[in-house]
Structure formats: C-alpha cells, structure tokens
C-alpha cells in the first residue's frame, strides 16, 4: 500500500492519541507506530518565559514539510506519516509539533520520525518569538540543530 503523508499547519491544539489511532485504524499491516511531540518549555536559556509565538511562511511551510515527508517515505518503508505544526501563541506545557510515523517494523518508523523532525527544525519556515518578563525577542537558531540535520545527508 502506498503511504500518504498528512501535513497540517494549524493554530488549534491536536489530539496525540487520536492522531496515533488514526494511523493504524482499519489496517493490519502496521507493526510499529512512533510519535514525537514537541512541547513548549517554560524556560529558555534558564529564563522563565510566558509564551512562544510561532510565525510561518504560508504555502512554503506546507511545501517544505511535504518535500521532506516524501523524502522520508522514499528512504524508509513507511505505511503512514503525519506531521502537524502549530502556529500562533503557545503557552508553556502546550503542544507545538507532532510527527507520527508507521511501518511494519520499528526501525524505519523511529528513523523516519527523527529525520523529519531534524529537517523540520532547520528547513521548515517557522520562527519562534518568546515572551518573558524582560519583553519579547526572537529565538536564535542553534548550530546543533544544523548538525543534527546534516547527519542524514547522503554522501
């Protein structure tokens, strides 16, 4: 069965259990479902934050996630892939991003989820702005995220 990627960008929260259940509903060919949830931390660099605001580039954000989702499906034998990224104001403890991958065996599902998250962080056009007692400022990109994405590059 050809896997289809579900990509959503939305302000509303998502239901993790529902998204995982949807992956294997009415199917018996799936042996592994892996999910990763990115959650808003209550501090950034040791400073408490009140909230994050996520900005994105409509159109390109979907296209960029889809491009990497399709690459994941070509590299690993996946039965399904879901990626949901929230935008707008997100408070500490709330969900930011969800990646769910399904496969016959766990290794493909684990690796594909990690691959997609690494690229989501470095090449999907989203930007986080943090609000704290000291005002609000844009979060800076981290070099170790670039390094994490680079290790998937085929040589």
């Amino acid at each position: 069965m050809t896997a289809i990627a579900t990509i959503r960008i939305q302000e509303a929260d998502f239901d993790i259990a529902q998204e995982i259940a949807a992956m294997s509903r009415d199917r018996t060919d799936i042996g592994a479902v892996v999910s990763f949830t990115g959650v808003c931390r209550g501090s950034e660099n040791g400073e408490p934050i009140a909230a994050l605001t996520l900005e994105h580039y409509p159109g390109m954000a979907e296209a960029e996630i889809r491009r990497h989702a399709e690459e994941a499906m070509s590299r690993w034998p996946l039965s399904g892939l879901t990626a949901i990224h929230r935008v707008g104001r997100i408070a500490p403890g709330e969900n930011i991003v969800l990646v769910v991958t399904a496969s016959q065996h766990r290794q493909a599902a684990f690796q594909a989820a990690e691959f997609l998250m690494d690229y989501l962080k470095t090449s999907a056009p989203f930007w986080k702005r943090e609000e704290s007692a000291r005002g609000s400022s844009w979060i800076e990109a981290r070099d170790h995220d670039d390094a994490a994405a680079a290790r998937w590059t085929k040589s």
Binding site: L120, T122, A124, W127, K128
Partner: protein
Amino acid sequence: MRVKYFAWVRERIGKAEETIEPPAEIRTVGDLIEWLAGRDEASAYAFEKPKVIRAAIDHAHVRQDAAISGAREIAFFPPMTGG
C-alpha cells in the same frame, strides 16, 4: 516581483511584503539583498548582516548566488527556529 519578509527581517523593514522592480543589473539573490539594503535605513538595518539572511524563491530555499530572473516571489528571513 513580489518580496516577502518574515520574523525580525519583517519587523526591521516594517512591512510583510511589497512589489519591487529592481534594475536589470540585479541578477542574483545576493545582488537583490545589497540593492534592498541601499534603499533606506530600515532596510539597511534588516540586511546589515547579509550572510545571516536566508532566501526562498517561489517557496523553495535558494542560496544567495541563485539567479532571480523569472522569480514571482522572493522571501527573506532569518534562520528557521520551528519544530
């Protein structure tokens, strides 16, 4: 062509998008950054560190040596911090 700005690039320039008509000698993304930066103080501030700026043409990432001819939409933004 249409130009879009995001995150602190948008804030520094003071607008989210505009339509521009650069002269014919502006051939690459890097040329365009230099041309935009020379327009006014706000743009100069947004593009003060051109190497930091990321660009996309028609929703695909490009390097600064990419040609802009035929582009409908060019976007400028800081390194991405989603996920």
